[in-house]
Symmetry: C3
Subunit: 347 residues, 3 copies
């Protein structure tokens, strides 16, 4: 893939400053760019690199005033950051432009496959499963009986979806993530062993959700584990049975949400956070990385941290005070002595 500065300016509705025939075949950060790279400058903090970069073409804001000599060809646009995002997206679309059904793959005769799909080799589409139009199922993936995948979805290699789960439109799921494994439900018996509680619910994932790699979302015991529209989940996350994650909530890697907990909308959860089961988290709540959340949060839009989690600023103060705790103990011991002396004097 090779483009000229002129072609890029046409794509972005920009104007060329320098050689319109300058060609690029890769994308790079302005400070790392080499000859043949296309780069961009949006943040004034990085302007210094514009005068030293080896990039062949740089996208800049229309109103940028140069303060030195630039060897790269410039493409001036209204908003360099947005324009470069458009280029990134185009690049990615070209890179992931797979279609057709590779062999060998396993497509059950009772499965329904939409138009313009990609089914990679060694993928398995079970009886009653549906794959929507323009969706991509990469190699080594598995869709069990009666799974529904909407339109414009991408399941990267090795994703496994258990029976009866429902996935909406424009959903991206990264490699080896599991949707619909059994919830962790066991009833203790008199001899100390546990009896499995059958997990016959499913997982419902709404539109525009993205899920990272090696994440696990368990099916509900009954009913559905639900991931609402626009949710973004990172890698290695655990979502237990009957959890509901509200719209546009974002969860960072290695966090875990225990069974039947209901997380609100627009919640932001840092990495390695844990939440106990059967609690409710108010809309707009934010949790610091490694928090442990042991009770429901009812006030919206507040920040929390620590284990057990309490108000973010308070727990920050507490954890800093914790560093001084051995000194505080010494000080109290000294005060004890002084008081004993005073009591001797005063009595």
């Amino acid at each position: 893939m090779q483009f000229t500065a002129h072609q890029i300016s046409l794509l972005l509705g920009g104007t060329v400053e320098g050689n319109p025939d300058a060609t690029v075949n890769q994308l790079a950060k302005i400070e790392e760019a080499q000859n043949g790279s296309l780069s961009f400058l949006a943040n004034p903090k990085y302007e210094q690199f514009l005068y030293t970069t080896n990039a062949s073409v740089v996208i800049v804001n229309k109103d940028l005033v140069l303060t030195g000599e630039v060897s790269a060809t410039l493409v001036r646009v209204d908003n360099a950051y947005t324009a470069f995002s458009v280029v990134l997206e185009q690049y990615n679309t070209l890179k992931l432009n797979k279609s057709g059904i590779e062999q060998p793959s396993f497509i059950h005769p009772d499965a329904q496959i939409g138009d313009n799909v990609y089914i990679g080799a060694f993928s398995y589409i079970g009886p009653g499963a549906k794959v929507g139009n323009n969706s991509k199922i990469y190699p080594n993936s598995y869709l069990a009986d009666n799974v529904t995948i909407g339109d414009n979805c991408t399941l990267f290699p090795g994703v496994k979806v258990y029976f009866d789960c429902v996935i909406g439109n424009n959903v991206i799921i990264h490699s080896n993530t599991i949707i619909g494994s059994d919830g962790f439900g066991f009833a203790p018996t008199e001899d100390g062993s546990y009896k499995k509680v059958s997990q016959i619910g499913n997982v419902v994932i709404e539109d525009n959700v993205e899920i990272g790699a090696n994440t696990t979302i368990d099916r509900a015991t009954m009913g559905s584990t639900i991931i609402r529209k626009g949710v973004k989940l990172d890698n290695l996350i655990q979502i237990a049975h009957n959890v509901e994650i509200g719209a546009n909530t974002v969860i960072a890697a290695q966090s875990g949400i225990s069974g039947s907990t209901k997380v609100g909308e627009r919640v932001v959860i840092g990495g390695q956070v844990g939440m106990v089961g059967h609690i409710t988290i108010a809309n707009g709540s934010q949790f610091q990385a490694q928090s442990g959340v042991s009770r429901s949060i009812t006030e919206e839009n507040k920040k929390w941290g620590g284990t057990p989690a309490f108000a973010f600023n308070d727990q920050l103060r507490s954890h800093i005070a914790l560093q001084r705790l051995p000194n505080l103990e010494k000080k109290v011991a000294e005060l004890e002595k002084l008081i004993a002396e005073l009591r001797n004097v005063s009595i």
Copy 2:
């Protein structure tokens, strides 16, 4: 799958109250049930829903006294919860009723395959591997050389079992879990790099164990990493080399047990707990979520929490006191001043 109230009463040994021809084709919670659903009422707390539910058939206790009008057909049984569990199990058994060998799959001529098995497409059974009777190996799974799988096991899609590992009877392993990967063993060398210590042991999993999705159990350096009978492991758990987990112990998601640690029987470990290596945990111990266990526990049946873990109630008190620590610091500073004043007075 469609059943009448009459058929259900025959299966459960119950009696019908209402229309014996009422038909159901799905299972649902009583508060979410729609027309055509079978539901149950066991907990008196939910009795109110019995009078408003849209379920077509509800299983209830024999001795339930109605306090209002019910539109659903009732099936009365000795124990509604147990009876419904039987229905759930039947449902699940029908849903997972796969058998036969799908193509393409890879079964080495030196592998031994039992009777009435399911081998999914794109599964790999290596030389010397054995799969017991009535076991199900779902698609994209991998059994390396000389792996033994007992009778009545289910390996969901994408499970990988490394060479020489031994799995007992009635074991369930969820998708993409890894059994027998190399233990994390490296010897430092003089130049600062590390030399791999070969890991030639195996993993032994006893009967009636269930393991969640994306969990990892490393093989022993020598000897065996052992998961005793009846153990239940959740998703995304790490079990390091040469660990032993005692019978009927339960571990929640994202916990990790370091090398050579020996966990007792009937231990309950919450989510995101970490245990250091080379320690021993007494039978019946319980660990709060996110605990960090840094020493052996010798007393049985006690509760622990925090990092480093100490007695559960004590650490709860400590962590609540931690929230008041900045205030305590202020108070001590005030006392210091008061004492200084008193000393001025008394001297």
Copy 3:
């Protein structure tokens, strides 16, 4: 595989003491060894077992002075530990001695496959991908377009490598690990939803790296996520986009490194550690398990622990003091009373 004491002595350059025809067909710890086992004694702490072991052959140090009767045949060598490591390695090499291309597999005509490779069944090698000489790609693995794998690498079953990623020589990657999934990058929009930021960089893994099972390493937004030579990563680790891990750094299971953080060389990171993004960690730093690292570390070779992490010994003292905190509160309350009394007296 069966060997005599004589054959083992030839392999190791040792001398036989006892029956040179004693045969072994397995390796075992000296305290667990059965008839037919080869074992070793290096640590004097275990010498007692030499006089009771059922091993048929034991490798011992040349200068070991016996203090009792030994039934096993001995092979005396300069260094029993090193010699046994050689045996372990040989054993492992024989166990993992796969080669050839199994069918069905998917090798794109534009892929380049080196000499003496193993490509397992149901593996996928995309267009432009390269696999170096003597490398092993186990079943159900996936190498996307333009992936490069060096010489002498082992990818265990189910590893997925996204497009354009580059892996050096002598690299081992365990089952179901993901290399090159999208970084977790989303831009908030005005309506509260998030817009994906395309992730077009790659992952570069240098020589002699080993990576555990079910670990995830995200591709860079632009540029590369880099794992330097000799790094050892355990299972279930998260490495975010644009992270760099310095040479010979070791990270234990379930730790996570957030985006753009740069970890130095020879760093040792315990299990379940979290690091925030955009920080720099000095060479030789060590982090206790479950630490939370929230700021850059500039001093080399120091130990850290706790959340937020501070000097290891200090945080140990603080966490022990935390256990006494409720008592400290009581003591301060008593001092308050005493001071109040004293003030009454003195005023």
